[in-house]
């Protein structure tokens, strides 16, 4: 699961809040990521992931249509499934057990988003 060494990893941001998507895009692109898509809900996000094939999906848990954990399960079923990083503004303790049993590789609080640290976390050293 997940990409191999990449120079500029690609990422899809799924979050219903436009302000956060814009903030995440600018922070990640500034840190060497290529934000290849944004989606406002789970179904749109699943379709975008299928068509764009990102290395990583940054996935909000609290989506308006489908629970982020359900989206993660569906994203993980593909042969070339992306790495899934769950995000939320809620306390990480709130989701501890569900994150543990999900196919996501990590959970990040939204305010901890940092593209350089995310690359390191996922082992995506620049080649």
């Amino acid at each position: 699961m997940g990409p191999g060494p990449v120079t500029r990893p690609t990422i899809l941001v799924i979050d219903d809040h436009g302000g956060f998507r814009a903030t995440a895009r600018r922070l990640l692109e500034h840190d060497g990521w290529s934000v290849i898509g944004e989606a406002v809900d789970g179904e749109t996000g699943l379709a975008a992931a299928a068509s764009l094939a990102p290395d990583v999906v940054l996935l909000d848990i609290g989506l308006p249509d489908v629970d982020g954990f359900v989206v993660a399960e569906r994203l993980a079923t593909g042969a070339d499934a992306p790495w899934i990083v769950l995000i939320s503004s809620r306390d990480p303790e709130t989701y501890r057990e569900r994150v543990r049993t999900s196919p996501a590789v990590a959970f990040l609080s939204k305010h901890e988003l940092d593209g350089t640290a995310l690359r390191s976390l996922l082992g995506l050293t620049a080649s």
């Binding site: 809040h17 302000g19 956060f20 814009a22 903030t23 600018r26 922070l27 500034h30 609290g62 939320s88 503004s89 809620r90 306390d91 990480p92 303790e93 709130t94 989701y95 501890r96 057990e97 569900r98 994150v99 543990r100 990590a106 959970f107 990040l108 609080s109 939204k110 305010h111 901890e112 988003l113 940092d114 350089t116 640290a117 995310l118 390191s120 976390l121």
Partner: protein
């Protein structure tokens, strides 16, 4: 930084989900962590949205976004913040030309109200006079 990120990676079992989990993020000193945003009309760039990101461990970021499709050359700024009572001090690491600033702050629900106090750059006073007209709103 990696250690910081790893610290928030949840990999062990624990509590159950509630229907309405609380927002994360108030430090022991009472200052809120999270992503806060506001919109304003910049006299040079037009309609803008500005986000301030306060991480629990003291990292700070400012992310501008032009909301009407206009072009700006201003990228994210990064630095650190400290809180002493009602005084918020922001130390800017990048861009290196930016001055550190100090602000008074108070929290009203999900709204963070900051009031400019000091900067070594005289231009900042005018900018924050514009920016301080409305509160920062927490991004859910």
């Amino acid at each position: 930084m990696l250690v910081t990120v790893l610290a928030v990676v949840v990999l062990v079992s624990g509590c159950a989900l509630g229907d309405a989990p609380p927002p994360a993020g108030v430090r022991p000193d009472g200052f809120p962590t999270g992503v806060f945003e506001k919109t304003y009309d910049d006299p040079d760039f037009g309609p803008m949205r500005l986000s301030w990101v306060f991480a629990a461990h003291g990292d700070w970021a400012e992310v501008p976004e032009a909301t009407a499709g206009q072009t700006t050359d201003t990228g994210p700024a990064r630095g650190h913040y400290t809180v002493d009572g009602d005084l918020l001090s922001i130390t800017v690491d990048t861009p290196p030309s930016w001055s550190d600033t100090q602000h008074h702050w108070k929290l009203e629900g999900d709204r963070l109200i900051t009031t400019f106090e000091h900067s070594d750059d005289p231009v900042d006073a005018d900018f924050f006079a514009l920016l301080d007209r409305q509160p920062w709103v927490r991004v859910p």
